[in-house]
């Protein structure tokens, strides 16, 4: 209890010092705007926003100020990714891929303004939940992240792929899993993570670094959207929009349990080293679909589905900072870029870090979430007008932005061919009602699954029991098994009968 009290007192002091300094607002508002813009442009990621600002400020301004800029951009970019997800059905960052599932149907129903307002609120509360955990539950979350080893990570990655496959299928779950397996196969291309042997590279050095996530993401989501949009242009029709963006308070209150649940899930996933916002959104969405009363409406414009993914990806930020600040191990890719900013300034994140810096980080995150909320309600008003631009003008612009985004990851022109290739395949998969998201998740998590699975077996000399003998692994194994079993026809029938009897 004393610890909690002293943490709050320390936070209060840091927060007052922060808001009393006029420079704070200059850095915060500037970086927040940059972050939201990066997030909203398809393909430009939170990691890129933080990296660029690290280069820009680096050791040129004091760490206290560069932290404001970097954290502001991080929070802004994770939030900003929801704009194109909702308005265009193209996720701005991988973190908001799950947001598109319910956000876009809402926008199509003319509730785009409401959806943007809700995600703004959800991101705001999510960031606060993650930050609160960083302040208070550091110890408990650290225990989780310290005890997670290769077998758990392998099973977690597999769970993510299976889950998105099961959630995304319109007709047959097996189609989602097929897409997931294609993604998994794509993740195998490149230098093998354990022995550095080239696999499926056909002697081409570009293939050795494997398929980058951003071009695959852009190809899978943006290209089919653009082709479909251009094929079915109806001149002169505009979406009817209600202009209300400020969310109804009763709506928020009604969904408070869902928001709280998603916040906790997001924070926990963020605390796992190397697992970031993209996974958090999916897992939270999946859990939401399973436990929610309106679970069958998920994917058709459910407010709860929207809130599940958006709260979790922002809550992930606070969680990801826990292993970074306390152990010196970044919890997500943007957190890795943040680590560089610390180290350039002679501040080594880890057990030796000055506790005052953690308190300042918490204070900055709290201020960032308020800034994001206020700016978000304003920028959403501007962004929603995008829907009024005719598609024939707008979609080519999106294609250009997408191309820039894919190019920005550094693989050169080949990444653009990859984007187009994946895009055409994805378009035809869409026509055949194969969900495309599991493919992307397969590419994102496949590398991790491959590496962790094989390392586990390597360590255990090929004994499969390694996935069942550790308590954490056993729980995850059971979850995976349950997920697969729940889709087998006999099990499904048994459940159906049970449900009928209960009703």
């Amino acid at each position: 209890m004393d610890f909690v009290l002293s943490q709050f007192l320390g936070f209060g002091g840091a927060f007052v010092a922060l808001i009393a300094d006029p420079w704070t607002y200059v850095y915060m508002i500037g970086s927040m705007f940059l972050g939201i813009t990066f997030g909203a442009l398809p393909g430009l990621t939170a990691t890129l926003a933080v990296t660029i600002l690290t280069g820009f400020f680096g050791n040129k301004i004091p760490l206290d100020y560069s932290l404001i800029a970097l954290l502001g951009a991080y929070v802004g970019a994770i939030y900003g990714g929801s704009y194109p997800s909702i308005l265009l059905n193209i996720p701005g960052t991988a973190a908001s891929a799950a947001t598109a599932l319910d956000g876009h149907p809402l926008a199509k129903a003319g509730r785009g303004g409401e959806a943007l307002g809700l995600t703004t609120t959800a991101s705001f509360i999510g960031t606060l939940i993650g930050t609160f955990a960083l302040l208070i539950f550091v110890g408990a979350l650290l225990l989780i992240s310290k005890n997670i080893a290769s077998p758990e990570k392998a099973l977690l990655a597999l769970f993510g792929i299976l889950l998105s496959g099961a959630l995304m299928s319109e007709d047959l779950v097996i189609k989602g899993w097929i897409a997931g397996l294609i993604g998994l196969a794509m993740a195998m291309v490149g230098l093998d993570p354990l022995l550095s042997e080239p696999r499926f590279t056909f002697g081409w050095s570009y293939m050795m670094s494997g398929f980058q996530v951003v071009p695959v993401l852009m190809g899978a989501f943006a290209i089919p959207q653009i082709i479909a949009g251009m094929r079915h242009v109806k001149a002169g029709t505009l979406l009817q929009l209600s202009d209300r963006i400020l969310p109804h308070f009763p709506t928020i209150r009604r969904y408070m349990p869902a928001i709280a649940r998603s916040g906790v899930i997001g924070t926990g996933i963020g605390a796992l080293p190397g697992v970031g916002e993209d996974v958090a959104g999916w897992v939270s969405y999946g859990v939401g679909k399973t436990v929610s009363k309106e679970g069958d409406k998920f994917g058709k414009g459910s407010v709860e589905g929207l809130l599940s993914s958006e709260t979790a990806n922002n809550a992930c930020i606070g969680g990801a900072l826990i292993p970074l600040l306390v152990l010196g191990i970044p919890g997500s890719p943007p957190a890795a870029a943040l680590m560089g900013a610390f180290m350039i300034n002679n501040v080594i994140p880890g057990p030796t870090l000055d506790p005052a810096i953690i308190l300042r980080v918490v204070a900055i995150l709290v201020l960032a979430s308020f800034t994001m909320f206020l700016m978000g309600l304003f920028t959403a008003r501007v962004f929603i007008r995008i829907l009024r631009i005719p598609q024939t003008v707008f979609l080519p612009v999106v294609l250009i932005l997408t191309t820039i985004g894919s190019f920005s990851v550094g693989g050169g022109i080949n990444d653009l061919y990859l984007m187009l290739g994946v895009g055409f395949v994805a378009y035809f998969m869409n026509m055949l009602a194969f969900p495309i998201a599991p493919l992307v998740i397969g590419v994102i998590l496949g590398g991790m699954f491959d590496e962790m699975f094989r390392r586990s077996l390597f360590l255990s000399d090929g004994d499969l029991m390694v996935f069942a003998s550790r308590p954490g692994a056993a729980v995850l194994l059971a979850l995976n098994a349950a997920l697969i079993a729940s889709q087998l026809p006999p099990v499904k029938r048994a459940f159906g009968r049970l449900r009928k009897r209960a009703a």
């Binding site: 890795a336 943040l338 560089g340 350039i344 880890g350 390392r455």
Partner: protein
């Protein structure tokens, strides 16, 4: 973003330049771009951002640092710099691990393609989990000798500097561990903390925070000198096993490079700024806080250092069977 800025700066410089053709322009006239071939937040990235900021103080222009990652052993970034003119306005931020790019098929140049500058590196050491039963290097080696190939040892990927250090330890002490590769040092250290492996070989800079926090227990430095950290003296492994001097020390060399074909005036200007920055207080302070040893080599001295590293790495990779190109065909001599 920065690329665009640099492009704008370049365009502006061209326009200004056209106006005053008569005056010869001394290097550097416009902003320099340093392309770091490893990711943001890693050791090479941090060192480059630090040294570039210091060198800016001694140059009339700014230096922009960008990251161009991917490929094999940083080949994407190196190929990118190769495709720019060799006028000294594009540098490459590199480390010792880039010397394997050629034998792994990432590109087709021997490392003397570069004219390197070495900022420094951090010495490697062996650490065990905080609750490990092994208290000294001797106990660990004896256990490995009793059960060859059974004690799991973490180091970053096959052919990395830390893996080579582990191999050298095995040869020098006559023991055999079960090498478990990880993607990067942080992941290996994490595995040691979680108890997945019995020991980890990475650099002091990478382990410092975990050692100070009591998460890892350091047992031996893989250099001739001992080291002081968190109030404890970590003994040199050479004190216990003198056979190690044949294979060690094998140290990181992190810095940057300009193309060897760049004009001499460029090399001189860079060397002057580099030497001035390295002599400064800020670099010394940074190195001390981050547990790095200062290098400071440039020119022929740095070239010789990288040539030794290249030959050592290349033939070790060939022995391990992971080199796709025979080092001899590239003209790399045996160590």
């Amino acid at each position: 973003m920065k690329v665009f800025l640099a492009a704008f700066a370049g365009a502006a410089a061209l326009i200004v330049g056209a106006g005053s053709v008569a005056t010869a322009q001394d290097y550097p006239f416009r902003d320099i771009t340093n392309v770091v071939v490893w990711g943001a937040g890693g050791g090479t990235d941090i060192i480059n951002r630090m040294i570039m900021a210091e060198m800016e103080e001694h140059l009339p222009v700014s230096i922009n640092v960008i990251n161009q990652t991917g490929g094999v052993a940083g080949s994407n970034g190196m190929v990118y710099v190769m495709n720019q003119p060799d006028d000294g306005y594009t540098l490459a931020g590199i480390s010792e691990s880039n010397v394997t790019a050629a034998v792994q098929g990432g590109w087709d140049q021997k490392f003397d393609y570069w004219y390197p500058f070495v900022v420094g590196g951090s010495p490697d050491l062996i650490s065990v989990p905080a609750n490990s039963p092994y208290g000294s290097l001797k106990e660990l080696i004896d256990a490995a000798k009793a059960n060859p190939g059974s004690i799991p040892a973490a180091a970053s990927g096959a052919g990395s500097i830390h893996h080579l250090n582990l191999l050298a330890l095995q040869k020098g002490a006559g023991a055999e561990f079960k090498f478990v590769p990880y993607q990067g040092s942080a992941a290996g250290q994490e595995a040691a903390m979680a108890g997945e492996v019995a020991l980890v070989v990475t650099s002091l800079a990478e382990q410092a925070a975990l050692i100070t926090g009591g998460e890892l227990k350091p047992i031996a430095m893989l250099t001739a000198e001992s080291a002081e950290i968190a109030g404890v003296t970590v003994p040199s492994a050479f004190d216990t096993y003198d056979g190690l001097t044949t294979y060690l020390p094998l140290k990181q060399a992190i810095g940057f490079a300009v193309r060897d074909t760049a004009p001499d005036s460029v090399k001189e200007a860079l060397t002057k700024a580099f030497d001035a920055a390295m002599a400064g207080e800020a670099v010394a302070e940074w190195a001390k806080a981050n547990h790095y040893d200062i290098g400071g080599q440039s020119g022929d001295e740095a070239k010789a250092l990288f040539a030794r590293l290249e030959s050592n790495f290349a033939y070790t990779l060939q022995e391990l069977g992971v080199a796709t190109i025979d080092p001899a065909t590239l003209g790399i001599e045996k160590p």
